[in-house]
Point group: C2
């Protein structure tokens, strides 16, 4: 008998009908002879409604209380899901993150899981129950306070439980049929990927693909837990993410896994920086001290006549204000002429382990962009990824051009998107 | 420095504005030099909405999961209240029933508190925090499952915490100014009671007064915790419930504390019962085995010609169906002609410790009802209470007549009712 961890996002349990549909699917997995652990997110818009309430009573809600508030969302969905399963004649018990043994650090709103002690889950399974666990939440090791894991936290809960329980697979149910070769909302001919390696999936997630978040894939890779991303609305096989293709699936590693894009970043250009040692260090020390993560960096060739250069870097738009403030404050120490802020940029990334052994990939990528009339502003590469920054308006066309150039287009418009996204 | 426990019902925290208003009141108590523990119910209609969701997924929700679901309500209100207090510049921490050490038995949906171990609350208070505790909920001693305390559970939480923390007073904030000599919605001239003994309050609660529930008063009496029932909307002094009048309040015990009424009961008459020993026992054993609590009982004088008699009793309407079914099922064993079910009855009760030493009370009570043209169907008395059953339609007029006859009328229409009721 195998042990399966299933995770359902908020859009899958948005209302009573959704909960009943999910309950049926869970019971099927149980009937197939599996022990089943289910991780569930808050219903549909619950989290947004709670955040809205918090903002009404306090402009800066305290982290501890904010976490206490938000975790009410999963408490509702998990109890309802357990009821719906019992109504189908099967035994189910719901568990909070704390009851399930999800132990975290004390960083509220974005806690990290540091241990999982699923004794109660194991007991419940051994008694023949289906165990329903609240996603997104845990309890802090030192203070025993309720914590939340931040964006994508329920996926991480599922993978962490799968690792602690030595599950055969962690199934992530969502509102799309799997991971696609590009965002299906942009590329109609995007294809569902049957299997992708952890490494390629990590690069896609880091480059803007939103189906799985980076930390969840990272966790799965560390403990070698196969993830199966699939739709809770259809019965189709989705995308397997694992170190090697699973079982009898003879899937050849594609040269290129997919094209990701990201329009959530902005570009800051520091203009008129003296071209001497230590200048770049001063800039990026300032940014790091403000606890801002940057993505891509480029330094222009210095103009010999002035001895000055420009340094550009990208960062999440949400951190833009903070970065500008930090740089302006340290302007005397750093020494630069001015700052330029540009939030009309987009990033297109091509990801694939085959890049390592196919030297023509980079050239083909630039040719495709050039043929589509897309101007490149910044370039960044890793062993299995190449990314460029362009004008934001050029992104859709650029993604489609690259997708076609690398032979990723499906013969049909197959991608289906069912609804919103969970957490 | 004193320790005060305050309890706020759902109508007091129905929306963000209500939460902010309550937060200000809590901060005032803190500024007055008190250590403050706050017990809070779920916001307004939250509980009803959650029950509605449960009914959509399952016609018979399991007790354990139902409790898990409902406790989400207090989790939301307590976290928001803590945020609102912090926003006023004071430190606050919220605690679930489990975190606050409210230990119960394992009877889901109506658990009983068996111990309170408020170590975390004490620590939080000692650090200068205001402690916010979820009402209505606890954790079971044996299984460590989340439980709820049933109707009026938040009041009981407050009194139990007050007892465990040796509080000076347990303040119950509600949507009326206190306990009145009659229901202000029926008797416009009802007066707020300044002080009432535990005993009289217990009788009023048992007779239909809804401001405080019986089990909460019973708990307070056992541990001798003074209760102060007051409005969260006005700043007025409310009603003190205690063994003796508090401090310098020289309040004379009234002969009559008040008039309560109850229209939630029904009457079952068992017709044609053989008038021989053991018959009544057979009937009430049947009812008891069905776990139904009955209230008043009367047996008619036997008709000598037939040797048959009728036995009537009252019980909550909600148990009516169950009682009829149980009696019909045991009809062969008991032996009776037929059953009559009447849910158009009402009960009027006069409560006051002075009754013991004022023999004229009963006579005056019946005279008042007679003068008002109200027919009496059943009578029941205790040392400090006399109750009658009448037609339901006669109840408002009967209550007003008795209230006037015993000199309880206020000179003005003072009673104010602000809103719904909490739990």
């Amino acid at each position: 008998m195998g042990l399966v961890v299933q995770k359902y996002g908020g859009s899958s349990v948005a209302d009573a009908e959704g909960i009943k549909r999910v309950a049926k699917r869970i019971v099927e997995a149980k009937k197939n002879g599996n022990q089943v652990v289910v991780v569930v997110s808050a219903m549909g818009d619950t989290t947004d409604e709670l955040i809205d309430l918090a903002e009404q009573v306090s402009p800066m809600p305290a982290g501890r209380e904010f976490d206490m508030l938000l975790t009410a969302g999963e408490r509702i969905s998990m109890a309802l899901l357990a009821m719906a399963i019992k109504n189908l004649g099967h035994e189910a018990q719901s568990f909070t993150g704390s009851q399930a043994g999800v132990i975290t650090d004390s960083v509220h709103n974005k806690a990290r899981i540091i241990d999982v002690t699923p004794g109660r889950i194991r007991d419940s399974l051994d008694k023949g129950n289906i165990a329903i666990v609240a996603g997104f939440q845990g309890v802090s090791q030192d203070k025993k306070d309720i914590t939340t894991l931040g964006r994508g936290g329920s996926d991480t809960t599922a993978v962490a439980l799968a690792a602690a329980l030595d599950a055969e697979v962690c199934e992530i149910y969502t509102d799309v049929d799997g991971v696609f070769t590009a965002d299906p909302r942009v590329v109609k001919k995007a294809k569902k990927i049957d299997w992708i390696s952890f490494e390629d999936m990590l690069e896609l997630a880091a480059s803007g693909s939103k189906v799985l978040l980076h930390r969840c894939v990272e966790y799965a890779r560390r403990y070698n837990i196969p993830i199966h991303v699939r739709s809770s609305f259809s019965g189709l096989q989705g995308t397997w993410v694992s170190s090697e293709p699973i079982g009898d699936k003879k899937v050849e590693q594609a040269i290129i896994s997919g094209v990701a894009h990201d329009t959530s970043e902005a570009k800051i250009t520091v203009v008129g920086v003296p071209d001497k040692p230590g200048e770049a260090a001063a800039i990026f020390r300032t940014i790091a001290d403000a606890e801002i993560n940057i993505d891509m960096v480029v330094q222009n060739v210095s103009a010999a006549s002035t001895g000055l250069t420009d340094i550009s870097f990208t960062l999440p738009k949400t951190e833009g204000r903070k970065a500008i403030d930090a740089l302006e404050k340290n302007r005397p120490g750093i020494g630069f002429d001015s700052l330029r802020y540009d939030d009309q940029i987009g990033k297109i990334s091509l990801v694939g382990a085959g890049m390592k052994t196919n030297p023509g990939v980079t050239a083909s990528f630039f040719e495709a962009l050039s043929d589509a009339g897309v101007n490149i502003e910044l370039i960044s590469t890793s062993e299995i990824r190449i990314s460029v920054v362009t004008r934001k308006d050029d992104v859709p066309e650029a993604v489609r051009a690259v997708h076609t150039a690398f032979g990723l287009d499906s013969d049909t418009d197959e991608a289906v998107v069912y609804g919103g996204t969970g957490r």
